[in-house]
Every structure is written in structure tokens, then in C-alpha cells.
């Protein structure tokens, strides 16, 4: 675990030393700001982040792959994977370190949205429980997206390919499964609805923390982390 902490520290440092992090921070704030103002400041709008939350799967599925595509693919491209995997560090350490590093950076992005509820509180009462529910939802959603992005980053040494595959797969997981579910009947509908990230995220937007949804996000994230470890292992055999 000490290794994981060391790797998280390095990963976070690497983010802040690269221009892409600052570009992402700006784009994230512009998009969330737009979603926040557009979704809240209108006739009958309520004093919550609901407008922002509804759009956040779309915003995150476009942005998070930029955050994750470099993580492991860059180590393979530059060859640093060889120096990394020849010190006493396990494949699990590497995957967890990369994952938690990206999650930490995502938390920094989320901190950028803290002014929104503060602004809201000037207009009306803000429900702290609802706010907490929204942030828990965002964190779970972001973590799942990061684990998917990390998996593709472990899969190929081409950053762009890792990024594009992540966007496509995230879009399918989030929206396409749901759209298809609307057009089929019986058990396929049930399965697709269960798999749709959007369906599970919906309750967080409405202010409900349902244990089922939390389990869904945590298991899916764990699954992609597990797959990332396996891909990393397999690549070292070849």
C-alpha cells in the first residue's frame, strides 16, 4: 500500500506538470458552468445542482478519457514501464496507483464546482443532503469512467486510440444500452437497463442514494480495474 501512495503522489504531480491538466480544468469549468447556469437559472428552477448533474455523464464521458488515456499507454510507449516493473512494485500496485491518482485529480476538478452551491445559497435554501448525494454520484460516476479509461490505456501504447476507445465504450455503456432497452421487450430489456450507467445514475440526480446503485458503480469499477491488472500482466508475457 505504501507503493500505491508513492505512485498516486507521482501521478498527481505529473498531472499538474502537464499543460493538458490545466486545459482540462478550464474546459471542465466552462462546461459545468454552462450546464449549471442553463439548468438552474430559469423560471421554476430549483436551488440544486440538478441541471448540472443531468448533463454530467455527457461532460465526463468526453473529458475523462483525456485524463486517463496517458496513464499506462505512455509508460509502454516511453519504456518507463520496464523501470517501473523491475522495482518491487506489483501490477496491482501500478493499476491502483494510476487509478487513485486520476481519481485524486478528478476530485480537484470537482472542487472547482464548489462555488456553484455557494452561489445557489444566495438565491434560496440549498439542501445539504441533496448536495452530498450529488457529489457522491459524481464521484462514483467519475471513478467508473476512470477505470474504463485506465483499462484501455493499459491495452494499447497509443494514447489517442486508448482515448477514442474509452469515449466510444463509455457512450455505449451510458446511453446506447438505455436507448436499445427502450426498443426491446422481456429479459433483454431488463439486462440492458441493469447495465445502463445512465439508469443507475438517475437516482443520484433525484437525490436518492440507493444501495443497489452504489453496488453497481463499485463492482463495475472494480471489474475494470481487475481487467486492467490482467491486461498489464498479459502484456508483460508478450
Amino acid at each position: 500500500m505504501r507503493n500505491v501512495a508513492t505512485l498516486v503522489q507521482r501521478e498527481l504531480g505529473a498531472y499538474f506538470l502537464s499543460p493538458i491538466a490545466y486545459a482540462l480544468l478550464v474546459i471542465f469549468l466552462v462546461l459545468t458552468g454552462w450546464a449549471f447556469s442553463g439548468g438552474t437559472f430559469h423560471q421554476g428552477g430549483d436551488a440544486s445542482l440538478r441541471g448540472l448533474l443531468e448533463l454530467s455523464p455527457l461532460i465526463l464521458l468526453c473529458l475523462i478519457p483525456f485524463l486517463t488515456m496517458r496513464l499506462i499507454s505512455e509508460e509502454f510507449r516511453s519504456g518507463t514501464i520496464e523501470t517501473l516493473m523491475t522495482v518491487p512494485v506489483s501490477d496491482v500496485d501500478v493499476v491502483l496507483g494510476k487509478f487513485l491518482g486520476a481519481v485524486a485529480f478528478f476530485v480537484v476538478l470537482l472542487l472547482g464546482t464548489v462555488p456553484y452551491p455557494i452561489i445557489l445559497s444566495m438565491y434560496g435554501p440549498v439542501d445539504p443532503k441533496l448536495l452530498l448525494c450529488h457529489y457522491v454520484g459524481l464521484l462514483l460516476l467519475g471513478s467508473l469512467y476512470i477505470s474504463v479509461g485506465l483499462f484501455f490505456s493499459a491495452w494499447t501504447k497509443h494514447q489517442l486510440i486508448a482515448g477514442m476507445l474509452s469515449v466510444v465504450v463509455l457512450a455505449v455503456m451510458t446511453y446506447l444500452t438505455r436507448s436499445i432497452a427502450d426498443h426491446v421487450e422481456g429479459w433483454p430489456k431488463a439486462v440492458l437497463q441493469q447495465l445502463s450507467v445512465f439508469s443507475h445514475f438517475g437516482d443520484f440526480v433525484r437525490g436518492l442514494i440507493d444501495f443497489n446503485h452504489v453496488v453497481f458503480f463499485v463492482t463495475m469499477t472494480a471489474l475494470f480495474l481487475f481487467l486492467s491488472v490482467k491486461v498489464l500482466e498479459v502484456r508483460r508475457w508478450r
Binding site: R10, G13, T80, T83, L84, V87, P88
Partner: protein, 320 residues
């Protein structure tokens, strides 16, 4: 210290390392020599726990590289061929990061960084970002990283590749110095380099070990056809040639005229030194002799021959 037994590594259908065995004793500096693509880096990657072997085994200090991987990594210092580093980190920061991954305490890390900064002449650039460093400086950072935890075994893959002559000499001296305290395996495709720093050499080609031994043993082994050069005045060429044929072990004779002297180049069978007999013959015949010397086959000749054979084999395989 390093023991490799029947090691094979396949990548799909390609056999990169084909059933090789060798060992390196504690305190030895061994050169791992072979043309590009011979299987050197692959063998090294198995030894450093990066690639698992397809079959066979390798141990470092008695520990298996596959089953005791973490402990082996603790005892190893490794400089990969391309010296991969994180360009955004500063040298000190990088070494500190590497020290932490090796579970060194804060004070150990600080002491180690001070020590390697001096040993690897990094004083001028210890606080600069790695991305701004020259090839030679990066190489020194890689070397510093490999030795900072005082490992039992150092494995250096092409440590002088891409350096300028002055840097090559510096690195070589450093390796010699390190050899006093560590067991070292150096891979290289430059014979000259290995000859200078290594006590023993293992030559690998086409994934197989083709020769191994001390530099002198190898020379002896490959001395094969020695040549004796002599310059003689007196007899005419015909007489000289007949007399030379009478000497034991002479295979080929070349004669050429040099300012009234006859220059002889005699190729002999292995293990025949005919200098004494040649001298006796000239003095008994009353000829003048102004030069006599033996030219051994060089390691370089042998290495080039091995390389050529490998290329021929590869070309053949590509055609098939």
C-alpha cells in the same frame, strides 16, 4: 550470484532465447556480448523479472526470478537499454521517487542521493527537469537510479550506447569502480567495450550461447589459425617456399618482396607456434632475419564471424 538454467523465451512463434544456461559468480564483471537481436535484452528482461520465461529458470542470489520476484527486484539494479525516465520530473525528485518504491527510509534516500550525485557526476543538474537533460546526463541518472540502493547485482543493458567518447570513457571507469563492490552483467554489441571492463565474456547469437570464458580463454579458444610474419633475406622465393613447407603445422604460405627482403606470412594449424623452428632454420641456413612475430586471431574476427553466421541464418529463415 546469477544462475540461468535452460532458459527459453518465445514470443509467439519467434524463439528469442533458445535454451541457454550460464552463471555469474559473486563479484564478477561479465560481458554479455552479441549482435543486435541476438537475445541479450530478452535474457536480461527475464533476469530483471520483467518478462516471465517460457521455460527454464533463472535465479539471482539463489532466489527464483519468477516465484521470489519482489525480493529479487530488491537486490537488483537495472539500467534498461533506452534509459527510460519521466521527463517532467526533476532528477532529485525522480531518485527520491525510485528510492521510495524500493522502500528506502527518508534518511537512506537522502544519503543515497548525495552519494550517487557525486559518483555519477550529477552535481550540475541534480535539480533540473529530466526532459532538459542531454543523452549522456540521462544515462548517468539511469545509472544512479540503478546503484542508489546498493544492490548485490547490477544489470546494465548497453550502458554506453549513444554517449560521446569522453562520456564512454567516464562510464567505463565508473563501471570498473562499481565492479569492485557489485556483481555486474553488462550487455553490449561492442566487443572493444566489453573487453576493457569485463573479466568474463558470454557471446550470444541467434538466441544461443556460442562461446563463453575469460577474455584470454576466448582468445586461446578462437586463436585457431595463428599467423606468423617474418622477413628474410638470402634464398630465392622458390627455395624459401620449399623449406617452409618442411616446417611442421604450416598450412598456407604467402610471399612478397619488400626492398630486397622477402616477407613471409605463414598460416599454421591450431596450437602450432613455429617461431622457434623458423628461427633455427634461418640461422642454420645462414639467412638474414629482421623480423619475426605471431599474430593471433582477434576476438573481433571471431565476433564478426559469429555475427555473419547469424545474419546468414536469419536470411535463410526469412527465405524459407
Amino acid at each position: 550470484m546469477i544462475r540461468v538454467t535452460n532458459l527459453t523465451k518465445r514470443f509467439g512463434r519467434l524463439v528469442a532465447v533458445d535454451n541457454i544456461s550460464f552463471h555469474v559468480e559473486r563479484g564478477d564483471v561479465v560481458g554479455f556480448l552479441g549482435p543486435n537481436g541476438a537475445g541479450k535484452s530478452t535474457t536480461i528482461r527475464v533476469l530483471t523479472c520483467y518478462h516471465p520465461a517460457s521455460s527454464g529458470s533463472a535465479t539471482i542470489g539463489g532466489l527464483d526470478v519468477f516465484t521470489d520476484s519482489m525480493e529479487v527486484r530488491n537486490r537488483l539494479g537495472y539500467l534498461p537499454e533506452t534509459t527510460p525516465l519521466y521527463p517532467e520530473m526533476r532528477v532529485r525528485e525522480y531518485l527520491n521517487f525510485r528510492g521510495k518504491l524500493r522502500r528506502m527510509s527518508r534518511s537512506d534516500r537522502q544519503g543515497a542521493i548525495r552519494r550517487v550525485t557525486e559518483r555519477c557526476w550529477m552535481g550540475e543538474f541534480i535539480d533540473r527537469p529530466i526532459g532538459q537533460l542531454s543523452r549522456g546526463m540521462r544515462q548517468r541518472v539511469g545509472l544512479a537510479d540503478a546503484i542508489m540502493h546498493e544492490p548485490d547485482v547490477l544489470i546494465l543493458d548497453e550502458p554506453t550506447a549513444g554517449l560521446d567518447p569522453a562520456q564512454i570513457r567516464e562510464t567505463r571507469n565508473l563501471i570498473k569502480e562499481l565492479g569492485e563492490r557489485h556483481t555486474i552483467l553488462i550487455s553490449s554489441h561492442i566487443l572493444h567495450e566489453v573487453e576493457q571492463v569485463c573479466a568474463r565474456i558470454i557471446i550470444i547469437a541467434g538466441g544461443k550461447i556460442v562461446a563463453s570464458g575469460t577474455v584470454d580463454e576466448l582468445r586461446e579458444h578462437i586463436a585457431g589459425r595463428g599467423r606468423v610474419i617474418a622477413e628474410i633475406r638470402g634464398p630465392d622465393e622458390k627455395e624459401l617456399e620449399t623449406k617452409m613447407r618442411g616446417l611442421p603445422g604450416v598450412d598456407r604460405i604467402e610471399l612478397s618482396a619488400v626492398n630486397g627482403w622477402t616477407r613471409l606470412a605463414l598460416e599454421t594449424k591450431p596450437d602450432h607456434d613455429i617461431r622457434e623452428e623458423l628461427y633455427r632454420l634461418t640461422s642454420e641456413s645462414g639467412w638474414s632475419l629482421r623480423e619475426i612475430r605471431r599474430e593471433g586471431a582477434t576476438l573481433e574476427d571471431f565476433f564478426i564471424q559469429v555475427t555473419a553466421e547469424q545474419h546468414a541464418k536469419q536470411a535463410e529463415a526469412a527465405r524459407a
